[in-house]
Amino acid sequence: MALSIKPLHPLFAAEVSGIDLKQPVDPATFREVIAAMDRYGVCVYRGQNLPDEPHIAFSRLFGTLELRPTVRKAAKHLRFNHPELFDAGNIDIDGNILPEDDLQRAYSRGNKLWHTDSSHRQTRAAYSLLNAHIVPPEGADTEFADMRVAYDRLPETMKARIDKLVCVHDVWYSRMLGGYPEPTAEERKVRPPCYHRLVQYHHGSGRKTLYLASHASHIQGMPVEEGRALLKQLIGMATPPEAIYRHKWQGGDLVVWDNTCTMHRATDFPDFTYKRDLRRTTVEEAPDAARLAIAS
């Protein structure tokens, strides 16, 4: 089956059509799915209306799925039976909008900062697949930027300056920026900081890319404030308005992005008025896994 690919932005991001993700995807078609990911970084599948099971089944084709972390959450937040599903909504288990002082809200606020998923884990996330069950009638767009493009656009002096730098990523740093309370010793122990090169090769395209996120607390071997200032500057340089694809969600959308070459952030919506139910699966990066199976 030949997929139809329509670019959504001059630099990256495409809409993929001609495929029903509720049906099994054959290896030749999946190669086209991967080729589109490698080229565009963000792929939008409109009108899929995927239940949880086919969402997870399609995600598994990309690799091993991350399991939801255990954080301070009341039972009312654990909406899903599947441990592979991350909650990117604003409702509780009974479908009620979460109150203002809910810890889940404080935890999610950090997602409005530019980031890439799971950079705070030493095993990076390769892909995220975000599935829209209920979308609010206005707002709540997701913004994306391509970090290969961002790298290409840096002045040569900046490329030389950052080439060998290592960032310290810490989930609690971005959570506290978003207003989450000081993590407990237990929380810090379960999810410790980790280390990633700032400039990396993107395996899917062979291009150099920035591996950047608001989870990046500071830069190794550099005074903390100096490193933070550099990271802030780089995030600014990587996300000028003309380099952003802003996804306006429709119910039934599945959006897949490559965390190793993009950043994204959530935007505001009247979130005490409207319900939003989005569910995410996250695929771990596995550099040694044979992802390109030979077709029989």
Partner: protein
């Protein structure tokens, strides 16, 4: 000043990359394309591809069509060239073949060109495999169009950056092809003349989607004239650019071997087939990688 293509700090961990010239082309060893390729090796192959524009894998087993397709998928999704024949059951694998008895027909691709620039979105790459190769002859020449752009004077770059060129398949397959001495025989499909005469526009100086580098994008086979200029006004400038873009110091010459796999970047490289093997059969099989509109 020409920029060196390979940066000294870029070390390959999983494959060996040996440049063929100082301008374009590199041989890749240490990977078996009949086997599954992991993400890191894929990344290194693509890096070598972007840095060298043409790469070839001289030591490969005889890939089956399915393995050829799997290896080609490293470079993107497939498209089919309208005037080539596919092999049965694997229509994305298309055939470039010349019979031993074929003497009075033109060699397909015998002039400097990039493939299929008469399409709105020309192919971004071509992944070929040697099937029947004469013991000598039938090499392919390549020329690096990043270097062709970079070697132009600043003012010429400025002038060309403001221009678009009109491309069509008229000379190859349309009205203008009727006026040529030699046809192509039966190795390629006859295209509808109207489709072949359809004109499309591409910038003369394009930016590569994967390297962000600029390259020169006109070729003798498909470029007709500059947009907004007459053929007479365009011709002297195009003739200069055709001579310039195929300079030997931008190029390389690759010798074929049976089972060798070769990939050219169909945006940043031009190529030319050498027909010096009359009396011998030659067959390559190719998978074409789709591209986007050029900017």
């Amino acid at each position: 000043m020409l920029q060196p293509l390979v940066q000294p700090d870029q070390v390959y961990r999983r494959i060996s990359v040996e440049p063929l010239t100082g301008a374009i082309g590199a041989a890749i060893t240490g990977v078996d394309l009949s086997q599954p390729i992991d993400a890191e090796v894929k990344g290194e192959i693509l890096r070598a591809f972007h840095e060298n524009v043409v790469i070839y894998f001289p030591e490969q087993p005889a890939l089956t069509p399915a393995q050829h397709l799997a290896a080609a998928s490293i470079f993107g999704r497939f498209m089919r060239i309208p005037h080539l024949f596919g092999i049965e059951g694997y229509e994305d694998v298309q055939v470039i073949r010349r019979e031993a008895a074929e003497r009075d027909t033109a060699v397909v691709g015998g002039n400097w060109h990039t493939d299929s620039t008469f399409l709105d979105a020309p192919p971004s790459a071509v992944v070929l495999r040697g099937v029947h190769i004469p013991s000598v002859g039938g090499d392919t020449l390549f020329a690096n169009q990043y270097l062709a752009y970079e070697a132009l004077s600043p003012k010429m770059k400025e002038v060309l950056s403001g221009l678009k060129a009109v491309h069509s398949a008229s000379w190859l397959l349309g009205k203008a092809s009727k006026d040529r001495d030699k046809g192509y025989g039966d190795s390629i499909r006859k295209l509808d003349t109207a489709a072949a005469d359809r004109e499309v526009l591409h910038p003369v100086i394009c930016t590569h989607h994967a390297t962000a580098r600029k390259f020169l994008f006109v070729n003798t086979v498909f470029t007709r004239r500059f947009e907004g200029m007459t053929p007479e006004e365009s011709k002297p400038i195009l003739d200069y650019l055709y001579a310039h873009c195929s300079r030997l110091d931008f190029g390389c010459r690759v010798r074929w071997r049976k089972n060798q796999v070769l990939v050219w970047d169909n945006l940043a490289a031009q190529h030319k087939a050498i027909g010096d093997y009359p009396g011998h059969e030659r067959e390559l099989q190719r998978v074409t990688i789709a591209g986007d509109r050029l900017h």
